[in-house]
Amino acid sequence: MASTEPGIEGLAHDPRYQRLVRRRGRLSWLLTALMLVTYLGFILLVAFAKPLLAQPIAGGATTLGIPLGLGVIAVAIALTGFYVRRANAEFDHDVDALAGEHRP
């Protein structure tokens, strides 16, 4: 499927394309790492710090584990939302501009 159209060839060397791929790649891996650390950190707390998670908040029935667990859900949704915002505001615009100039 290797394409040799001049438009596509030119695109690979376009500095704006290289910048787009670099920035988007950095953001994707950063957010992936954040999600991984958040979730695996939570699992390690569950494995090694059970008493901490079972600690009641302000002497009530609710424990520290509840906001932490719901927090992992909130982080997953928030990171997803953050990526979509950045992509809609920035990356799509760059892709459209590049696609307009480098029609295959």
Binding site: M1, I43, A54, N88
Partner: protein, 539 residues
């Protein structure tokens, strides 16, 4: 509820069947091309696809199983459900947009993009069929047992009805009908679960603290009644608010965590949903909607589980004389829906649970059928020269075969413990499909031999270690001690797959390897920008 015929439930289920068959009829008239059949013509919006993904992913097992786990052990159920959510951001950050830009109908389109078609497509088809089959058996057995309880139908009839319904949807309506059945089901399930959770919270002045406090009292009283000392009883009551026995050892915990987190990004029936939207932007917004709906749903199941502790465990009419749930452990959410909404609402929720199963198995069947017709028949056997009508015929025959196999296996496995099958499907997807997809997308040095060898290693290691693990070796095969001591194989099989792909690709000096590597720059541009991607619609 104990196998007696439940007429309101049957009436409401009949209404659901009538609506979905109407959708199927409408979809059948719109299903003309292969693009319509596999990918709904690429005409689904991001919002619709997000709901359909949620409908594909929120199975009856998670609605009934996780709420039942919370009813029994409290907090542990939340830990489990979180694992199913955290895979979604990974799908978005690494897979979704590139998948949409490169593929047309199946994830194998993407995995084989720059490689030799025959070996990679064969691997992808085997892996898809294995994942689909294990997932399908778990759904069918769960469906049979659930429907026997809720509707009073004999087990084989229940399994056969599920098989026939999913065949009708997929055979005639293809992806268009499957998508809309999933959307209708997602709306019904989210609506029903929201109502139950709101009804529970309303009784506690919308204070979760008051709900938790009452749940601790109930569990403490139950432990006292079972003969515990006051101090033991208090500890048993408080235990539901923190992690308990769910995590046995850190290795199993991390391994299951990895399988759930990266397995989502390798489930073929989930990946297929990204081809139903017109472009990468819509693929992106579908993940955001799906993550939101699924996260919201798991918060609801948490409230529902605690609501069941408070409202079901205290009402003898839902319990056997011994104090267990009538109809088995998974019935906590069903009894709770009766407690908050009476007979009619129980009937409604029963119909929703049935609908939930149908929507999930329809998606699985379509994915399995496309692996046979699009990957094996059209791409391997006919070398990409099959005409559309023949390819669709093969797909429809496969749907029939898969339905018969699913019904037969569902009946065969009735008495088996199939709880391990869903986590096995996730482990296979994380250990085979995910490494193959990621490295073929992002590593220029990756070759045909590398992905096939690595995928095969990941697949067989995940399968083999699961058979040797306690869930199968002890619980199913009846041996005294498991050879592989951990709960999930992913922590070993996933790195083994990545390593094998890397090693074999590095050592690969074949002529094909040179072609594979030379194809990377063009693939990269298309995956990053979508320039040259398959259009929204074939007509």
């Amino acid at each position: 509820m104990n196998g007696t015929t439940n007429w309101p439930a049957i009436a409401m289920f009949a209404a659901f069947v009538a609506i979905t068959l109407g959708i199927t009829r409408w979809a059948a008239r719109r299903t003309r091309t292969a693009a319509d059949f596999y990918a709904a013509g690429g005409g689904i919006t991001g919002f619709q696809n997000g709901l359909a993904i949620a409908g594909d992913f929120m199975s009856a097992a998670s609605f009934l199983g996780i709420s039942a786990q919370i009813y029994a052990d409290g907090y542990d159920g939340l830990i489990y459900s979180i694992g199913f959510l955290v895979g979604w951001p990974i799908v978005l950050f690494l897979i979704a947009e590139r998948l949409r830009n490169l593929g047309r109908y199946t994830f194998a389109d993407v995995a084989s993009f720059r490689f030799a078609q025959t070996p990679v497509r064969c691997f992808a088809a085997v892996s898809t069929l294995l994942v689909v089959l294990f997932y399908l058996i778990a759904q069918m057995v769960g469906a049979g047992q659930l429907i026997r309880l809720l509707f009073g139908l004999p087990y084989p009839y229940a399994v056969a009805i599920v098989g026939v319904m999913m065949t009708l949807y997929v055979l005639f309506g293809g992806m268009i009908a499957t998508t809309w059945v999933q959307i209708v089901k997602a709306v019904l399930l989210l609506g029903a679960a929201s109502f139950i959770a709101a009804a529970v919270l309303w009784r506690f002045g919308f204070s979760p603290e008051a709900l938790f406090a009452r749940a601790i009292e109930v569990k403490t009283a139950a432990a006292s009644a079972a003969g515990a000392t006051p101090i033991e009883a208090q500890a048993a009551g408080r235990a539901i608010m923190g992690p308990g026995g769910f995590i046995k050892d850190p290795v199993s915990a991390l391994s299951l965590g990895l399988a759930l987190m990266f397995g989502t990004a390798g489930l073929p029936h989930i990946l297929m949903r990204f081809f139903t939207v017109p472009n990468a932007k819509a693929a992106r917004s579908s993940v955001l909607w799906a993550t939101g709906w699924i996260g919201y749903f798991y918060i609801l199941t948490f409230v529902i589980g605690f609501g069941a502790i408070v409202l079901v465990a205290t009402d003898p009419s839902y319990l056997t004389p011994g104090g267990a749930l009538r109809g088995g452990g998974n019935m906590a959410a069903m009894h709770l829906s009766h407690a908050v909404g009476g007979d009619l609402f129980l009937g409604f929720v029963s119909a929703v649970a049935f609908a939930t199963i149908l929507a999930v198995v329809a998606g699985l069947t379509l994915s399995g059928a496309s692996a046979v017709s699009h990957d094996l028949y059209a791409s391997v056997l006919r070398r990409g020269r099959a005409d559309q009508a023949a390819e669709l015929r093969v797909s429809r025959v496969t749907v029939l075969v898969l339905a018969l196999v699913a019904i037969a296996l569902g009946i065969l496995f009735e008495q088996q413990n199939v709880a391990f099958m869903v986590s096995l499907a996730f482990a296979l997807a994380a250990s085979a499909n995910f490494p193959v997809l990621i490295l073929s997308l992002l590593w220029p040095g990756c070759t045909t031999r590398g992905v096939v060898a690595g995928g095969a290693v990941g697949l067989s290691l995940a399968l083999g270690l699961t058979i040797l693990s306690p869930a199968v070796w002890v619980s199913v095969l009846g041996n005294a001690q498991a050879i592989f001591p951990y709960g999930s194989p992913a922590i070993f099989s996933m790195p083994a797959a990545f390593f094998t792909i890397w090693l074999v690709s590095r050592l690969d000096t074949s002529g094909r390897a040179a072609v594979d590597r030379a194809g990377y720059p063009a693939q990269r541009i298309r995956s990053e920008t979508g320039i040259g991607a398959a259009g929204a619609s074939a007509h």
